[in-house]
Structure formats: structure tokens, C-alpha cells
Assembly symmetry: C2
Amino acid sequence: MTRVSPKTLSFSQECNDCPIRHRAVCARCEADELTQLEQIKYYRSFEAGQTVVWAGDKMDFVASVVTGIATLSQTMEDGRRQMVGLLLPSDFAGRPGRETSAYDVTAATDLVMCCFRKKPFEEMMLRTPHIGQRLLEMTLDELDAAREWMLLLGRKTAREKIASLICIIARRDASLQLSASDGELRFDLPLTREAMSEYLGLTLETVSRQMSALRKEGLIVTEGKRQIVIPDFDALLEETGDDSDGGFLI
Amino acid sequence: MTRVSPKTLSFSQECNDCPIRHRAVCARCEADELTQLEQIKYYRSFEAGQTVVWAGDKMDFVASVVTGIATLSQTMEDGRRQMVGLLLPSDFAGRPGRETSAYDVTAATDLVMCCFRKKPFEEMMLRTPHIGQRLLEMTLDELDAAREWMLLLGRKTAREKIASLICIIARRDASLQLSASDGELRFDLPLTREAMSEYLGLTLETVSRQMSALRKEGLIVTEGKRQIVIPDFDALLEETGDDSDGGFLI
DNA sequence: TTGACACATTGATGTAGATCAAGACCATGA
DNA sequence: TCATGGTCTTGATCTACATCAATGTGTCAA
């Protein structure tokens, strides 16, 4: 099987620095609009660990990830943290029509984002309806992903959570194309144990223990610190608790 | 304090049987479009406990809740269930551009929904862009709610989960208007213990125990089976673990 | 080469919430 | 009046994961 979302992949191959991926998606995009988008866009780089914006801070731009990984997190007063969004290349951040960020946005790895000042972007959305339609589609996808994530957080065991996360990243991470040979998947797991624990609603120790367990059972192989090999993707899928035909929502 | 979302309330007062709440929201709605909407809409009623659609089933309509409460749930192969959506009057269900339902949709109470066949609805969306814009706005709100919910599922204690759920319903349930006098809130908790446990990622026994605890401490008072009185809303908010100025996301 | 630091692993122990089990409460209907 | 079934409560016990603590590993810089 080793299914990979063709959609995500094709986007990131063709154009991943446009918030609505217009070159890949919108045949109807007119040259004028394209040019306007080009004019208002700019790039920002962050080092791994840096914060892009804090929850509550002013955020006068929308952006999409060009390279690297960004996370959205919520923090409680006493410091408990829960990741609520994971942005891979070509994913979109920022909410039109809101002044401040509702979440901490953090660079999980070195990160380049393609930004658009919010005002002109919103004006352009009004002028070109299909951009709004594309944004609606993307938001609905994110909502589905969030709901999948809720099932994980509310009902899965630690082991199932880890297996699920690895499968999710394997499916989404474009770099896996590099060696999707003979049923074996090799890719970077670009998150620290701590980031994984924030994603999964676990402690970092539990993440480490469950990773070790999967390793001992041969379901995953680790090479170096972050490189992961999945010898048999279907076997790992079995451990996620998901329906074996499990949709395509992420 | 006892803050109540003015937005939700005004919608449900003025027009809660329109999926995009156009009468309340869209000054720009033209008579023609209104008439068209009226023509393609129809009503469906369900008894408490009935299933509206199963996950994977064909769903050729979109709908909004008129009265009652509907839930969206996901089920794992072994029967573990997690609620991923709670629809109160005026909330929207169904995804334009998808053939089948991704979730079980269930009537938590007796329920009336206002439905629109999907095809004509989608066509109308294309003709009138601001309906799509409104839908985007609503979807973004839902995404925010889902992320709040993820924090609850991943990081809150059982006690905090219960307190949060009660506050969420108190804020959203329009019926609370009836007696929002002198800081005391009285309203129906329209969910069984089991439904609450599916919402919160707990067992029904834990829900029951924590409800009893809050009752013994005087944070809530129960009258009959489902009627709840919150003598001091702020005191209950303290127990949710949320920031005391905690945004307005639901 | 040696700290120093960030990150990961592993062990020992504690505990919140799950699980299993027994009743209580309350409506409905014979 | 008493059964019946659905919902809720409460108790006893178990366990998955958290917590606390020590140690290991790789990288960088002096």
C-alpha cells in the first residue's frame, strides 16, 4: 500500500510558496492577480526553536511554509502545552479577519515562510472569489485533520499515538519520495521527543519508551538521531488503531 | 462577568434555520437568492438517540440545526468512540464537495434540521460569493473550537474537562437567556453521562464522579436529572484551567 | 581533550482515571 | 402493584501513563 497523498505532494513539488498554491491549483488565476500576489509577498526565515509569533500578539500577515516545519501550540497558565497544528511545506498559517494570533507559532526546524501582508491579501480575496473558495477547501481539510487528531488525543493508547504520528508524517512529508522503494519508507522525523509529546498529549519520557518498544519489535528502525525507516508500512498502520482502509483525511 | 457570545445568541434569535444565517448576517443577500434558498430547503426531524447518517454513508445534503442538539462522532474498530463535533441550534453540518459523511451524525436530543440538497446549494455558493465567505468564516470558527477542544483532550484533568464542558454549554446554549439573573445561570444539560464522556475522552463513571464532586463543593447545583444551576459562573471558570481572560473562541 | 549543553534513554515509584461490579433512581406500562 | 429497562451513582481494584531521578550520547567550542 504505502499510500501517499498525491495532492499534497504535487503541490509541494510545483509551488509551495503561495498561500493558495495558485500555480498548481488555479487554472483560472489571471496574470494580473498573480502579479499582484508576487508584489505583496516577502520571505522570512527562522532558526529551529525560534518563535514566529506568540499567542495574543499582533499578526498582520498570512503565510505559507516554504521549507521546514512550523507548529501551532496552546499553553495553559501553569505551562502545560498542547500542539494544535503542524505545518509542513505548502501549508497555510494565519486567519483572514483576525488581528492577533490565537496560538504560539514556532519553528520546529529551520524554517522559511512566504508571507503576505494581511490587508492586501484580504482585498485580493474579495476581488477573486475562487481564492476564497480554495481557502475554504483548505480550511475544511484542516478541520478534518483536527478531528482525526481529537480521536487520537481522546481515545488512543500511547503506543497507538506514536504509531499514528509516524504514519502521518511519513504520509505527508514530501522527502519520503526519495526512497519509497520496495515497500520500505525512509524519511526524517523532524520533531524532538518533546515536540512529539506536545503533539500527542503525552510526556517526553513516554514517547521515548514507546519509540524504543516499536524499535525493539522491528516496526521502525532509527538511523542516526532523526532518520527513520519503516520496513513495513502496513505493519505499522496496524498499530495505529485506525480502520485499515482508513480514509485519506490527512 | 458571565460572558455570553452575543454573536451566537443573536443568530439563534433571528434566524436559525438557514445554513449561512443570511437573514441575520448578510445584508447583501438579494431577494432572488433568498427565494431560491427557500425553494430547495426542507426539514427533517429525529428522536433523541436516532442516527442522522453513519460515517461513510452517502450524504447528499447540507443542513443546519433548528432545534435540539446533534453530535459528530468517530468510532474505532473496537468500539472506542470520540465525539468531534457538537451542533447546537444554528450550527452547520455537512461539507460542500464531499459525497459521504466522514462522521456519525447523531441526535443527542429530539432534533429538527433544516436541509438543503447539496447540488443546488453548491451551485448557489458559486453564484453568490459572500455565502462562500460566510461559510469560510464559520469553518474557521469551528477550527478554532476544535483546537480548543484538542487542548482539553490532550492536557486537562477530568475535573477541568467537566468544568470546561459545562461552561462551554452554558455559554452557547441559547436557553440560558431565560434566567441569566443575578450572576446565576440556569440551563439544560442536554447530554447523557455517556455523551459527555464521549465528548471529553473519559469514561461515564469518571464523568459521574466528577459531577458529584463539583456538586458537593457547591460549584454546580443539579435540579432534576438534567437541569443545572451555576451559582457563580466565575468560580466554575476557575476550575477549567483556562486563562481567566480566556478569549472568545467558542 | 575536555567541558558544556541539548537531547534521548532507562529505571523506580506514584497516581489519575479505567475497569469491574453492585445498587439506586425513575419512568413506563402490564 | 410490581416488573422492566434505561440512566446514574458509588465502591473496590487495577493499570497505563506521569513523575522524579539518574545516566547516556552527540555536537560544538575553547
